[in-house]
Symmetry: D2
Subunit: 346 residues, 4 copies
């Protein structure tokens, strides 16, 4: 049985476990004020070419989203995002629990456009009754999106421009950032992120770490008192160095990107295998998630040998499913899946 349900099925990259082992008896200060966090932050600043950025390590994505949004918005403001955005759909209302409305826009393949954002801002600020409505106070996007699609550099530039024009921050959820940056056809470089986003994070949990997201405030003015927010939102890890140690390992010799690239290429092989059979996809994408639309009658036999997720009912006889690869996916798992597709679909 080979599992492709998600990209967090296993533990972590061996280099991380080794580093945890090596440092286990070292004594360091808690709460992220240790040399490992410091060094990991420096490495991220170097890799993403943002020497002035303020960097904080959080445990998970929902926590990172809620904490950043809490720090950036005033109470009467909401966050613009795609209808399919993680904060709108899959965080049990953490943003609303923090007091803010999610201002969802219709999404195409998980993405929203600068034109949509501009439209929402103009509509709000020209409305005579705007004080009776939630004021858009920031923009949240995911890179890659929930559907594994990626923004082009031009799209990001445009979103950046509209946010700059309206003086609201752009926040990029990078839970799968590496898979996006390493995807075929991606023309965004690591250094583009801090240039175009006010805040973004480098996802660890889904990219080979046990857990952890590195939040990068490329606009450090927005990070004022951010450590208070981390603590208030329950994200201040006592043994904070665990986060530093993991990101040191991930940033070392390009491990983060190598793992992501490998996973993307393995996903490409799954895509190609379905494509050769003329099977359509819910969305065209090139990251580590693959969304073929399968006949329902194929699902049960497939599920006997492979774990995958039923993503969306497409019609009475078809379902879009999701296969994920990760740092831990083996070549043999992909070989077996390829063979199965070749022999069992027509």
């Amino acid at each position: 049985m080979f599992h492709f349900e998600s990209d967090y099925l296993e533990g972590c990259a061996p280099q991380i476990l080794e580093a945890l082992q090596e440092t286990n008896l070292d004594q360091t200060l808690g709460y992220g004020e240790d040399p490992h966090c410091e060094k990991a932050a420096d490495m991220i600043r170097y890799v993403f070419d943002c020497p002035g950025a303020d960097i904080h390590f959080l445990v998970g994505g929902t926590q990172a989203n809620a904490t950043v949004i809490s720090a950036l918005l005033r109470p009467h403001q909401g966050v613009i995002c795609a209808e399919s955005g993680h904060i709108n759909v899959h965080e049990t209302g953490a943003v609303e629990h923090g007091g803010h409305k999610v201002l969802a826009l219709p999404a195409t393949d998980g993405k929203i456009s600068a034109a949509q954002v501009r439209g929402a801002l103009e509509a709000h600020h020209s409305d005579f009754s705007r004080e009776h409505m939630v004021q858009p106070g920031m923009v949240y996007i995911s890179f890659p999106t929930e559907l594994g699609t990626i923004y082009t550099r031009q799209e990001l530039e445009d979103l950046h421009a509209v946010c700059t024009e309206w003086e609201i921050p752009l926040f990029v959820d990078g839970a799968r950032l590496g898979y996006g940056l390493e995807a075929s056809g991606c023309n965004i470089l690591p250094k583009d992120l801090p240039r175009l986003a006010d805040v973004f994070y480098v996802g660890g949990t889904k990219q080979g770490a046990l857990f952890g997201e590195a939040v990068v405030f490329s606009n450090p003015r927005l990070a004022e008192d951010f450590r208070y927010f981390i603590k208030q939102n329950g994200g201040m890890l006592a043994k904070g160095r665990l986060l530093g140690i993991q990101f040191e390992a991930l940033m070392n010799e390009g491990l983060y990107f190598n793992l992501a690239r490998r996973a993307d290429r393995l996903a490409d092989r799954i895509r190609a295998a379905f494509h050769r059979k003329g099977i359509p996809f819910l969305t065209e994408n090139t990251t580590n998630q693959v969304f073929p639309i399968l006949e329902n009658k194929c699902l049960e036999p497939l599920a006997a040998s492979f774990g995958f997720e039923c993503w969306q009912i497409v019609d009475a006889t078809h379902t879009a499913v999701r296969f994920c690869t990760s740092w831990a996916t083996t070549e043999s798992a992909i070989d077996t899946l390829e063979t199965y597709i070749r022999d069992n679909f027509q």
Copy 2:
């Protein structure tokens, strides 16, 4: 240099790292729905003799407190606790961020009494203007307290009785639970916890785990929909098995209690060493935290060889300091400290 600043200076008990290593490539479902969490919960149910309890694993203490309190209170209710309680002092207002007032009572050695709680409840419910005041909706205590003191069984029985009488839950923060249960003079047994508290947690972070707190709803009715609350409060770890694996190891062959007992006994040696010199203590206690009151002129020389925390200014010439032991404290560290005290205090 030997460090005694806190009980979270190192990584984790070796058994935990081994278990992480062994399971690293296993594939399991995320979000705590894996066999390790299930088994760890069973082990806790067995050790604490609460077969019907509902058990959830969270990452840290502030998160556990905020999440449990959010689940137990209605919006107009507050939580009674000691003035010195962690939720009142050291969680950056996480409880208030969730909408609730902390109703702080004066504490003696970190503890509050059943009589105080009864007084607060009676005062509220007999007040003509009570609807203008926050209604006490639950009681929070720490075992051991912030000052390392412990409640007696009778004290817990009394708190339990008043909570039962007024139909509000009693919640025990057990971030250092093991150190309390293993302390000399403690007459509370593991099985007393679920009997006397509606909810409590078994702290891992400060007791040999990398991180993790096991929240036990001995009253499972209070746990309804609790997983939604975990997610909403950012505490749903994607690789949830990390928590299960750690608590399996801690509950295995009494490791959790053995580590705590050893640390308590090492702390006893520090206490005894100061005591032999006639040095007074901020509080009499028997857990892993030691609070001698030292002359200020002693602090700098002491700090050259030993790490400790300055806890409280006592008067112009004296400061209460804190020494913590933990699972990782070495005999030789204690030997050296004993020798230093013997030779340098009079």
Copy 3:
């Protein structure tokens, strides 16, 4: 110049001012615990035939909505409503400020159906990831809706049935309740409200009072501790009798309904006048709001003599506008408007 912009342009029905005058120097207890509130509540119980209902008086609609919703939901729950619902669009995120997501459903003429609600509930509770999503915890509808439309009795029965089946409360925002009950074609009686809704309110502000909404908990179990919620949400009027006095006057000899009926009939005349000219409407309705779709070139001349609200851009050359009648609308204002329409539209 005749104003039809809203139904809160003037002060209040003369009977109310008289009652305020007469009682001005009486001395009564504050915060709604006075004989006027008591008597007004009794009158409402009588008029709506709900002898066991628990009734509270609040100052305004947004406040009433936020307070009721805060009292009925647990933190992980959200409120189902129409996309066009007041709480979703025009309350500056008061519901989210209180911690809850508004779960908006597409609306037809401002209404949602029992089938939609059932669909949303089934979708949530059958979702494998439901704990990552906001749980639907209540249903909010407006009667009449934002577009002045009304639910039929059958539609309300169906909504009631699905809420009962799923054990969640149905809450009816009755800011314009009277206009709905008195509308031509309305087959809902006052006594249907407490039978079919768990909570509803009898709007005063838009129906002849200076301000005030009477919240009726037909299910009094849901009102537990509600006065705490009123205070916490800033709605506890010190001189609470002002609310009682107003509702006494409104409930006296059917004033509330008489004023509403008259306003509805005057609105019918406006509707008829536009209809005679073949002018279409944004929505077919029979309450005190009229939404003709006018050519843009007509707007400026019309606005020279009549106040109205531009409601929605329909296409490049047409705009839907809103005319409101109220208790204070004069016959002569309607005559003049009728004449204008007759002479100036073709």
Copy 4:
């Protein structure tokens, strides 16, 4: 029977009812954007000598407090106030419901000092663990206090100075502002308020209005987007002109101050009557609230003829009670009470 339980027992000053009567059929825009609110704001700016102030009208005090505090604090910040402060004791946790901790300081006669505030700020900002604690973000005081005492001008200057030094706003709850400004011995002038407080309000509810508090942002930068906050907190009155009309009347020819002065002088007579009998007071004060400490055996006979409030149990045989005067207190009520005291106390 003469009632002295509170200063909101009656309706409103006759001038206000007259103004409501006169304007009743006028048609104006809603939500405070009418000429009456504009004019009332101008009058307040004139009377308090703050031509650049931004002024908003809210319905009640709890609402005003919660809304202003919500607008001024970031989520990790709390509000410093006296332990006995209204926001700490009698608003059902409205501030915490909005997410903020009330940082209560011990109060003397209801007041806190600049030294206390400085101490709290210094303690916080010098604490190594400050990020684990709520950051003091503003100071709230009442003038007069809950105990009817008043700050001297020097005390206000000092509070202003420490707030300026630490760059946090000073907010003055003026629910009874007039009674304070007109108290014997008060050396604060209306024009001192905007000079020394960043925000304050001119209380109407307890000073002759039906309801209403005029919030004055002497520092208008702090009022950015404040109308959104009013709406979000349920304080945007649809018929907002009701607030404007009332404050126009109160500011006209000094009515507000005249009513307050008269009430203060009547309270002085009550104070003197008790004083002549050697009866002690809970607190020495000169505003419209009087707090004699009476023998318990006197209470029942007294209560047969006069309404008052039991404020605080002093010892086994004594209770502090409260008598309030207001704009509506009659000379004859005071005469009768004086006579009673003269004849029945010894």
